[in-house]
Amino acid sequence: MDALQEKSRVTVGQAIRGGKAYRIWVACLAALILAGLLAYFRQLDVGLITTAMRDQVSWGFYISNFIFLVGVAAAAVLLVIPAYLYDFKPIKEIVLFGEMVAIVAVTMCILFVFVDMGQPLRLWHLAPLIGKMNFPSSLLIWDVLALGGYLAINALLVGYALRRHSAGKEYRLAVILPLILLSIPWAVSIHTVTAFIFNGLSSRPFWNASILAPRFLASAFCSGPAIMIVLFELMRKYAGLKIEERALAKIAELVAYTIGINLFLLGAEMFKEFYSGSAHLAPLRYLYFGLNGHDRLVPWAWLALILNISAFAIFLAPDLRQKPVTRSIGAGLIIVGVYIEKGMGLVVPGFIPDTLGEIYQYWPSWSELIITVGIWAAGALLYTVMAKFAIAALPHAVQAQDR
């Protein structure tokens, strides 16, 4: 037992220590986190009036980021499926890093919902037993359970793997295979439930379309794996992580399918809304063409569409998706594209026009932007530390031992 602790203490130390570049990176993240914290304390003090949200548009940038990150948490499952259902070795070796993305993404989701709360000290009202959960009626409670469960599953998986590896013991798959398999439907459920939060509101026709949950899943399965592609490329370059080219090519192939499905679903929605042209078209018209001269989101909506289509072209061509450079560019395009589409592009038009027909053009305030950047920095820091620990704990996965 002592030896085991000694061993893991060493790896914890390795995870924290690093070269100059690493220290600068961590210092930058820490500075951004501090800025976010200060902005958040001011928001706590003054109220959510520091944001640009108002009664007409009562959810904004925080909830947009929340939705996008629920999607990112999918990254894990698109690795788990080929690794464990199809026993694809090259991905099996890196699935751990996907599960760590899930942990980070869900943690950031929780932070984004937390900073959006008007009364954050009353968070315990959502807890079982001591709080007063409106279950099964409120989809928000479903989401609390789904996200909490997903975080727990992935934390257990990663915790077990790292503990075994850092102790130099054998990793026994049979012990945790049920949990791995459980994580697949659970990942689907977090997206579905998050989509249902919006989907179930008859007051907002933009969200009250049955295609919403499928679109959530499709776009999540684009952006999540795309983030994995970028992260793997970075870790390969800067952390000496050994990744088989076949693994990344397989992920890129999956992304090609999911972008195609995502674009198809978007097209289906566009057809239905524009062809039938009912009064419920207003939000979509606001998003793509502007409404009565209000067109704040129009350039962004088209940018997202162009990025998504360009990424599709890149991932569709085997040559391009197999070259690390073009593949990474494609991944970058789809990440930004989905960030716009499944962020502000989904949340804000739901409120425009509002239920009494008023148009309030929302755009995040500086305070919202700084807090948002702070949370992203916190996520990046968490991932950096976890990945560094994991790489240190898995010596066989690393090429350059000096890193």
């Binding site: 009664d55 709360m117 009364q119 000290l121 009202h125 409120f351």
Partner: protein
């Protein structure tokens, strides 16, 4: 009345010193209601849900809240907690042929219900619509009309407030049961249980719910000291509020403030369970309709045409 008269105008621009001070105190105090002493801080943080309080809890909590409100507003605020009367279900009817769009209901509501004056919160929105084009065209409606005189010949008006739905989407979505429907039909909020997630605001099809984006500020001489726990008692920042059919008045057998003030007599209120009530007469004999009937929220707020 100038802004200076408010006890605590929400300053959105903050200098560096206050900013840092706020940062330091932020976690501890900011999300809590009012500036209470430590003991009261603790008890407000762990206050029970209203429906789970027994008689003693209610007395203790109300005494503390009254004390806090007194310190803050300098007025002798009384917080009642009268339960729904038996055999009463409130209903409301608004005569669109009489409404002249004067918005006196809006100001009477504000004077009665203690919403923040700065930033301004109103529970009633009066929508102005052009005659002769569409029937109810919400997208063409104007909430901020400002003519020299009303009524204007080319327009008609639709006041909208909480519709006290029989099937309220806000109650369905609230994650903490902080909002619920009382036996007399009023949808209420426990302001000390609301976590400020604003899911109810997304769910409401009538734009009836308002959020306290900053600490509400009300002039000392503007506060109405006659309040109800589930109605017009002073609110905190970060919680949702809305029309309660003036629960503090109607549970005492009085009319809501908007009904009382309407100079055109367009607003009718009464007990839906009483067959001889005016509200029942209107529903049974006039051409009534409800807003957005296709959503099946079943409002107990009716619109009608007497002429």
């Amino acid at each position: 009345m100038s802004l200076r008269d408010f006890p605590s105008p929400p300053s959105v621009k903050v200098d560096r010193r206050t900013f840092l001070k706020g940062a330091a105190l932020g976690v501890a105090t900011a999300a809590l209601p009012l500036n209470s002493a430590n003991a009261s801080l603790w008890s407000s943080l762990f206050q029970k849900h209203f429906v789970e309080m027994d008689e003693d809890d209610r007395k203790r909590v109300i005494a503390r809240l009254e004390n806090e409100a007194r310190q803050r507003y300098g007025a002798d605020i009384q917080i009642g907690a009268a339960d729904a009367m038996p055999d009463v279900k409130f209903g409301y009817a608004l005569d669109l042929s009489r409404c002249i769009g004067c918005r006196r209901c809006v100001s009477a509501c504000s004077a009665e219900n203690n919403p923040s004056r700065n930033p301004q919160i109103n529970w009633i929105s009066v929508l102005r619509m052009k005659k002769g084009e569409k029937w109810i065209d919400l997208e063409g409606a104007d909430k901020y009309y400002d003519p020299l005189a009303v009524p204007e010949t080319d327009y008609f008006y639709i006041p909208v407030q909480c519709q006290q739905c029989e099937n309220p989407p806000c109650v369905k979505v609230c994650p903490t049961k902080a909002t619920w429907k009382e036996p007399d039909g009023i949808v209420v909020i426990d302001y000390d249980w609301c976590i400020g997630c604003r899911y109810c605001m997304a769910a409401c099809p009538y734009g009836a719910r308002r959020f306290n984006w900053s600490a509400p500020s009300i002039g000392r001489n503007e506060i109405n000291p006659h309040t109800h726990y589930l109605g017009n008692r002073p609110r905190q920042k970060g919680v949702v509020e809305k029309c309660t059919f003036c629960i503090q008045r109607t549970r005492e057998g009085r009319y809501p403030a908007c009904v009382e003030v309407c100079p055109a007599g367009a607003r009718k209120f009464g007990n839906l369970l009483d067959e001889r009530s005016e509200i029942r007469h209107i529903i049974e004999h006039k051409r009534v309709f409800r807003l957005k009937e296709d959503l099946n929220t079943v409002p107990t707020f009716f619109y009608f045409f007497a002429s």
